[in-house]
């Protein structure tokens, strides 16, 4: 059976800067795959390529065997790839439930009659509430999303990604900026979502979090893949250790 996600010899250049250079790896269904690397390694750029935000310079990305090149972000989202952002970007002025509604609309934005139909139906409200309850923020449904604390904003972003009914979600530093308890809640949530059948590709700087969540890790440095394997092997990989110590002594 084909892989869920296949990153095949991907390069991305911004002018002279090689943000990614000939990176390849695959991801299987049901997996939580970690993506780590020092600042500026190209991790977020890879997310932006997968989600169609930027075109690749060369290489192919296949999802369920389908080539994603030439697809825009909304098409990729409609195919079932959800994502969160390193710096959270909720629809700040809208309520929490409306944030989720927007992503639930993914199946309504295509046809004319579909998009002119009412969005507040008992069915859509029920679906949105269910997703909010799933990530544990049902009590905040009517709050303006900009008023949530960071931890809950991150839960909201996951809720919004789940509303796409994704088979793959991309999490960009989900634990970043969170306190210990918030972090534990979030890790628990990611595990549960994965247990329900959604594959997860997670960028994370916090090593204990990565080691807890992932059975397999891909390491990027300076735009190239320098290692891939289980947490134990990665921890003891000389190149990885040097990459971290060499650039940011405090990482």
């Amino acid at each position: 059976m084909e892989h869920l996600l296949e990153i095949d010899a991907i390069s991305k250049h911004f002018g002279g800067l090689k943000a990614l250079e000939n990176v390849s790896f695959t991801m299987d269904r049901g997996e939580i795959l970690g993506l780590i690397g020092p600042n500026g390694a190209g991790k977020t750029t890879l997310f932006n390529l997968i989600t169609g935000r930027y075109p690749v310079t060369s290489g192919t990305i296949r999802y369920n065997g389908k080539d994603l090149s030439g697809m825009g972000p909304s098409q990729v989202a409609a195919m079932g790839i959800g994502r969160t952002f390193q710096i959270v970007r909720p629809f700040a002025g809208l309520t929490v439930i409306t944030n989720v509604m927007i992503a639930l609309g993914v199946s309504h934005y295509a046809g004319f009659w579909n998009s002119v139909s009412r969005y507040r139906t008992p069915a859509s409200l029920k679906a949105a509430r269910k997703i909010l309850a799933r990530v544990g923020i049902a009590g905040y449904a009517q709050q303006k999303s900009e008023n949530l604390p960071l931890g809950l904003k991150k839960h909201l972003e996951i809720a919004r990604a789940l509303a796409l009914r994704p088979s793959l979600i991309l999490l960009d530093e989900p634990a970043g900026g969170l306190r210990k308890e918030e972090m534990d809640r979030l890790i628990g949530l990611v595990r549960e979502i994965n247990g329900e059948g959604t594959s997860v590709l997670v960028i994370e700087h916090n090593m204990p979090v990565v080691m807890q969540l992932c059975k397999r890790i891909v390491v990027l440095d300076h735009g190239t893949k320098i290692a891939e394997g289980p947490p134990e092997a990665i921890r003891n990989n000389r190149q990885v250790v040097e990459a971290y110590l060499g650039r940011t002594g405090d990482a």
Binding site: S74, R89, G93, G105, Y109, S115, Y119, R160
Partner: protein
Amino acid sequence: MSAYAMTVSITIGIYVILAISLNIITGYAGQISLGHAAFFGIGAYASGMLATRLGAPFFACLPFAVVVTGAVGAILGIPCLRVKEDFLAITTMGINFVVQAIFLYIPFFGGALGIANIPAPSIHGAEMTKSAYLAMVLLFVLFAILVDGWLTRSWAGLALASIREDETAAEMSGVNITRFKVVAFVLGSAMAGLAGSLYAHFMSFISAADFGFTESIVILSMVVFGGIGTLRGPIIGAIILGLAPELFRPVLDYRTFVYGTMLVLLMRFQPQGLLGLDSFIVRNAKRIFTRRAA
């Protein structure tokens, strides 16, 4: 009702439609436009020219104006798709100047003389009275309100809100932002075209000077003053700012000064406008009502 009061009411009705239409583009979809009068003008010219050159009846001219303006809105929307904020403001302003210059300098559009003798609508050969015209304008205001209400309750309206809030997050949530920006431009432009047609057949004479940048600012002031992003805001804004020059003559003479100053002050102290979400009045009204209920 005096003829004068009717004239003022018709003018305000047309402004209400204009403010509602601009609010779709700028308030709901978050795409700033400083050139809305261009579409008002395109509608007026399309309607007036079809009537005077081909002798078409008003009830054919009006839908023609709506379709033409909507189509031009789609075409002129294209350069607006790739630019944001300040650049979009300048682009739309540029569109306004270009459209106005075309009306003024291309002989086909009547040049400096504009389009004269646009007939008033007639029903069964009898010319529509002023009160009938007012009733018709009010029906179209109602129509604009219904379209607006339908839009904000639809998935399309939700898509526009997501674009206004965060384009990147919107795309990643499955919203085709190009498509829905075009939807906003077309709908807003077409509605401005409707207002243009009503204006042309009411005034019977139109010229390029009626549709300049100043007029765009007047429409934008109404939207911002009343409360951008709501339906009640542009309606109230158009009524108050439409009435102000009638009640207080100096406002007419110094219109650009008064509106300009008002815009600056609003942006500084009350960007939500009079009745926008979270505006001073709405917040306090809510507080009073919740206290009563408690």
